[in-house]
């Protein structure tokens, strides 16, 4: 049992999506995250255990490497895709309640900004940590964020911007959200941002990488962590 979970973790960490996927070269032809997740379920391993003991650690490992500058966006992306390939087989268990979501994470790239790569990687990483994702897409203004918050009152909000010219729109959106929902937790991220900027606009947390966002969210739901 441990072996299959460890293999699943490795597949996610290395970005081995499924058997047909030829990357990484040294794992070519072997089972990928998708097959291993199916096998783990077939062996009767509880879905929550698959999530907590294999998938979350896989994303955590690659996230740490990214934070340390040991891997870059394509490697993160491919790992997130491997995680998604496995996650699709756990979806029914979320729906049935066999696995409980850790929370709802509403995420979007801010108004005027069409870059989705950072937002997508964070969304996939957070989903891999057991959260339900409400992806609002790109070029998202206050109104759309507010609508999503109204539909998911307990959610945590994430915002991304990749341009110095669009990150300033975060300030307006954060202000609008905080006016109506003063206690709403808002994470911000994107290449030109900084902790100072996060503080300046009144957001709750800035993370320079997806792993930091995941760790912050883990801390919210389980404050004794970290």
């Amino acid at each position: 049992m441990d072996n299959i979970l460890e293999r699943l973790t490795t597949c996610i960490e290395r970005g081995k999506i499924n058997k047909a996927f030829p990357f990484p070269a040294e794992m070519k032809g072997g089972d990928g995250a998708e097959e291993l997740c199916i096998m783990a379920l077939a062996q009767g391993i509880p879905p929550e255990e698959i999530l907590n003991k294999a998938m979350i650690p896989g994303m955590s490992r690659i996230g740490e490497k990214y934070s340390q500058g040991k891997v870059f966006v394509p490697e993160m992306l491919i790992s997130a895709k491997a995680m998604s390939a496995a996650m699709k087989h756990l979806k029914p268990f979320f729906t049935s309640g066999a696995i409980k979501r850790r929370g709802v994470f509403v995420i979007g790239t801010v108004l005027g900004d069409l870059h989705d790569i950072g937002k997508n990687i964070v969304a996939m990483s957070v989903e891999g940590a057991g959260w339900e994702i409400v992806d609002l897409g790109v070029d998202v203004g206050s109104e759309k964020f507010m609508e999503a918050i109204a539909q998911h009152p307990e959610c945590v909000v994430g915002m991304s911007a990749l341009l110095s010219t669009t990150m300033v729109n975060m300030e307006t959106i954060v202000r609008n959200i905080k006016t109506k929902y003063p206690d709403k937790t808002i994470l911000v991220g994107g290449a030109p941002l900084s902790a100072d900027f996060c503080s300046h606009i009144g957001a709750s947390f800035y993370s320079p990488n997806p792993q930091g966002a995941v760790e912050f969210l883990n801390k919210i739901i389980n404050p004794e962590i970290l």
Binding site: P74, E75, G112, I117, N120, L163, V168, P192, F197
Partner: protein
């Protein structure tokens, strides 16, 4: 030591630094787009779609704030439109553009961009002609092309491109080769129209590993750089974001001017690229310029110049954001005496 020098116009000042001479003051080369459009009471949509608005906006900013270079940059989709992308202009934002190869790796779907025919490429050439006619002897004129990685990402979509870098390197290389060919042709047309400098934007490169960059992107950027220089123009490379991990590769490109974003250590850049490359930057465009004060900006720029040393040009880490207070942009461009080492 401070030298008593004869006042120069912007073009003389800029060329002096590029050619390792002694300018009167340090040149100032900020990038303005939406800011410039709004400064003249226009908007980004007009700025990106009509060279007359772009030229008027840049000329007014250069005159009023003291820029030394007029730029033809507006957005990344000039070549992409030539390749077949469909562009939609937005009043207060970057134009939207489809990715012609979003669902296919068949390069046959691409059109053949012709700088003299493709609407948005020709619009940029017209901007340069207009600059040349209006003030070509007074200011440096910078044309712009997309770098091989940036243009390939625009054609495929960023997510697809990044996946391609892992899944299908041969395809990525062929696509980037095509982009370099078009970049060289577009640069040639802009130089013919009067550009003395060509900026190369290759932002997506900062998101890739140094191994991938040095193996596949840098050699193509190098081809583009050398081709432009052989046509007699200066090359200014702009890769937004953190390029620290790419610096050894960038050092081998032989660019004349390197823009550096705010998260990069300027002293380290100088150490890696050496003393023959003009370094420009790198005050944070938002926290430093937009949200700073005139005195904080001025102090930061002076401190940066001293730490980086010559050759250097004043610039923010990236584009000046809209709504930046005028006094802040004036502070950024306040003349700094050239310091002879």
């Amino acid at each position: 030591m401070l030298l008593k020098v004869i006042p120069m116009n912007s073009l003389e000042r800029y060329m002096s630094v590029v050619k390792s001479g002694t300018p009167d003051i340090v040149p100032r080369i900020p990038i303005v787009m939406q800011y410039a459009a709004e400064y003249i009471g226009s908007n980004y949509g007009a700025f990106a779609s009509d060279y007359k608005a772009l030229v008027e906006a840049n000329c007014r900013c250069a005159k009023d704030f003291g820029f030394d270079q007029l730029s033809a940059i507006s957005d990344p989709y000039r070549e992409t439109e030539g390749f077949g992308g469909k562009v939609r202009y937005v009043t207060d934002g970057v134009p939207r553009c489809t990715n012609p190869m979003e669902t296919t790796k068949d390069m046959a779907v691409l059109l053949s961009p012709n700088p003299q025919v493709s609407t948005r490429m020709l619009d940029r050439i017209n901007a340069i002609r207009e600059y040349k006619k209006l003030c070509g002897e007074e200011y440096s004129i910078m044309g712009w092309v997309e770098g091989p990685a940036a243009e390939a990402a625009d054609l495929r979509g960023v997510m697809n491109f990044l996946m391609d870098t892992i899944e299908d390197t041969d395809f990525v290389c062929r696509l980037m080769d095509r982009c370099v060919d078009v970049g060289v042709e577009f640069a040639a047309a802009q130089i013919d129209a009067g550009a003395d400098t060509i900026g190369i934007g290759d932002a997506i490169a900062s998101q890739l590993s140094p191994q991938f960059y040095e193996s596949f992107i840098q050699p193509r950027e190098h081809t583009l750089v050398k081709s432009i220089q052989e046509m007699g123009a200066i090359v200014r490379l702009h890769i937004c974001g953190n390029i620290t991990h790419l610096l050894p590769g960038i050092a081998g490109l032989g660019v004349d001017i390197l823009d550096v974003d705010h998260m990069v250590d300027m002293v380290r850049v100088r150490r890696v690229v050496g003393n023959n490359v003009v370094i420009s930057g790198n005050i944070d465009p938002v926290a430093g310029v937009r949200n700073g004060t005139a005195s904080s900006i001025w102090e930061y720029v002076k401190k940066t110049y001293v730490s980086v040393g010559n050759p250097y040009m004043v610039n923010a880490g990236c584009e000046i954001p809209a709504k930046t207070p005028e006094e802040n942009l004036k502070a950024l461009c306040t003349p700094i005496p050239f310091i002879k080492a």
